[in-house]
């Protein structure tokens, strides 16, 4: 059975929305970060689906780049969160407000 393209794109859109909502409404830096990863993976899903639909590998190559970026971003992001935690003893975004708004 072949799953139709628009089903996969709908799932991808749904995952993306879950990620966006997570970024906007969660207060823990780690969870916000995970939500961003969900957004990126939603994009990956869309790329793979479109790649299959068009019969070109461009989209699949793009997915590898996105995964590489996600890994790099996690490495840098966690390092920053740890540095902040050492200084403030918290990773709760609502408690991090040294800079005025």
């Amino acid at each position: 059975m072949v799953v139709p393209l628009h089903h996969i794109i709908a799932i991808s859109g749904l995952l993306f929305t879950i990620g966006v909502v997570g970024v906007l409404f969660r207060r823990s830096a780690i969870i916000v970060f995970m939500s961003v990863e969900i957004m990126l993976n939603a994009v990956n899903l869309a790329f793979v689906a479109f790649s299959r639909y068009h019969g070109s590998v461009d989209g699949q190559v793009f997915v590898f780049f996105i995964m590489t970026l996600a890994a790099a971003e996690v490495a840098v992001g966690l390092a920053i969160i740890i540095a902040l935690y050492r200084n403030l003893r918290t990773a709760d975004l609502s408690e991090i407000h040294e800079l005025k708004h």
């Binding site: 939603a42 639909y53 190559v61 840098v76 992001g77 200084n87 005025k100």
Partner: protein
């Protein structure tokens, strides 16, 4: 890949090798760290020289990169701002005992990212350049890991930057899904010939792409991170973040709109109109209330992004040229502004408020003169380069019938005069708290000379930059 491909990216390769070399030197700890900056500047200088010595023209790497006068214009601008921010950094890093090889290496990596954003002719490369730039900057903003404010700025930049990357990528995915390609020319042909899956998909993808770019260049309402990042980052990095990425963002934005979409996506023009108008207004009105110079300049940067967005939206050859001229003038003067702010700044990030500038004209007349010139140029007084930039953008917009937007922009420029003149008034008309002259390290002097040359020199004799920007913008049309 052949020799022509390699030659077309020679400046980028030189910078990458220099950056990797700096990382190695740091690990080996062999030459004293005081020499690192010369290695970095040497790499930048060599790249700048190669840009002219080995000129390429055309498409390379199977069409993923295009090199022309447009990319050369921006490469020169990126390399100049990189060299400027390296020079500004040295005294600051030495004063705070944080001079390390990775700082210089990351600055160079970020510069390579910007250069690829301008050279990209395929959304894959645009994305990779953007992320090379962004990830390097996240680290640089949070470089002072014992400073809570630097950490916080880095975290905010990273979370919002990654968030915006999600939109950017989803936009690319939808455009790829609709047109079957990520190549600029391919997208344009697919839209032109109607061979796309659905127009709605392309338009939605383009809208998401706009959101991604709007984050990077800090258009309202996607600017929330900018003031905090600019304030929390170490001042030389603020200089770098407020110039390079903004220029690179607009360069890539313009190139995508002009070559991949050929200004065909009118669906979004209304949105861009509103974005430009509220960006100018919010940026300027909020800047009025700021007492911290870094924060004030951050909001001024937001306001300038608004003026630049007008040029993007108008989308004529005249407005593209105006955009390039404005970006060059804005980048160099802003770099100088933060350079001077980093000199006035005292220990533990004190000395950033308006009061620290009182009587500067009596303490250090030359420094005060240059700072006043920068403020006048940013505010758009004749005969400075900032005035000409605004004039070119506004007249290009009027030619295309955007009279109301120009009226809003002119009113905004008038508002901005108030906050740009505040430090000038403090410097020239108030008594200094102490009479001692501000020490100006030798590293900063070339930056200040460049600022004077650009702000005043190009204001009086603009033809050389005008010619270059017209030629550079011309290769897009």
């Amino acid at each position: 890949m052949n020799a022509a491909d390699i030659l077309s990216t020679l400046p980028e390769l030189v910078l990458t090798v220099t950056a990797l070399g700096l990382l190695l030197l740091e690990v080996m700890g062999k030459p004293p760290r005081a020499r690192f900056v010369w290695v970095a500047l040497g790499g930048v200088g060599l790249a700048l020289g190669l840009e002219f010595a080995v000129p390429s023209e055309g498409q390379f790497y199977a069409g993923m990169i295009s090199v022309d006068l447009f990319t050369r214009f921006f490469n020169v601008l990126f390399l100049t701002t990189a060299a400027g921010s390296l020079l500004i950094s040295v005294p600051y890093l030495r004063r705070t005992l944080e001079e390390r090889g990775e700082y210089y290496a990351l600055t160079l990596f970020a510069t390579v990212g910007m250069m690829f954003m301008a050279k990209a002719h395929d959304l894959t490369i645009t994305f990779l350049g953007l992320e090379l730039l962004s990830v390097s900057l996240y680290i640089l903003v949070a470089f002072y890991r014992n400073r809570v404010r630097s950490n916080e700025a880095g975290l905010k930049y990273l979370l919002l930057g990654a968030f915006s990357t999600g939109f950017f990528l989803f936009g690319i995915a939808l455009i790829y899904g609709s047109t079957g390609t990520t190549h600029y020319d391919g997208i344009r042909l697919a839209i032109g010939s109607g061979e796309q899956l659905s127009m709605a998909l392309t338009v939605t993808g383009f809208g998401l792409l706009i959101i991604g770019f709007a984050f990077k260049v800090a258009l309202v309402p996607f600017h929330m991170y900018a003031p905090d990042v600019y304030e929390g980052a170490p001042t030389p990095i603020t200089a770098f973040v407020s110039t390079g990425p903004k220029v690179a963002g607009f360069a890539a934005f313009l190139k995508v709109i002009a070559t991949a979409f050929a200004f065909t996506t009118q669906h979004w023009w209304g949105i861009l109109w509103i974005l430009a108008a509220i960006t100018m207004t919010v940026g300027n009105i909020t800047a009025l209330r700021q007492d911290n110079l870094k924060r004030m300049l951050a909001f001024s940067g937001v306001a300038h992004a608004g003026y630049l967005a007008i040029a993007i939206m108008v989308g004529s050859a005249d407005s593209a040229f105006a955009l390039l001229f404005y970006l060059a003038a804005y980048a160099i003067t802003t770099l100088g502004a933060f350079g001077i702010v980093s000199l006035i700044e005292g220990e533990d990030e004190s000395g950033l408020d308006m009061d620290s500038y009182r009587g500067l004209a009596r303490r250090s007349p030359y420094l005060a003169g240059v700072f006043a010139l920068i403020m006048l140029s940013l505010a758009g007084f004749p005969p400075t380069a900032g005035f000409l930039g605004k004039f070119f953008i506004f007249s290009a917009a009027i030619d295309e019938g955007y009279t109301w937007l120009v009226i809003i922009a002119v009113v905004n420029s008038l508002i901005s005069v108030y906050y740009y003149l505040r430090p000038v008034v403090a410097m020239y008309m108030q008594e200094p708290a102490d009479e001692s002259a501000v020490a100006v390290p030798a590293f900063i002097v070339p930056v200040l000379l460049l600022v004077v040359l650009v702000a005043l020199g190009l204001g009086l004799f603009p033809m050389s930059l005008v010619k270059n920007s017209i030629a550079a913008a011309g290769s897009l049309f």
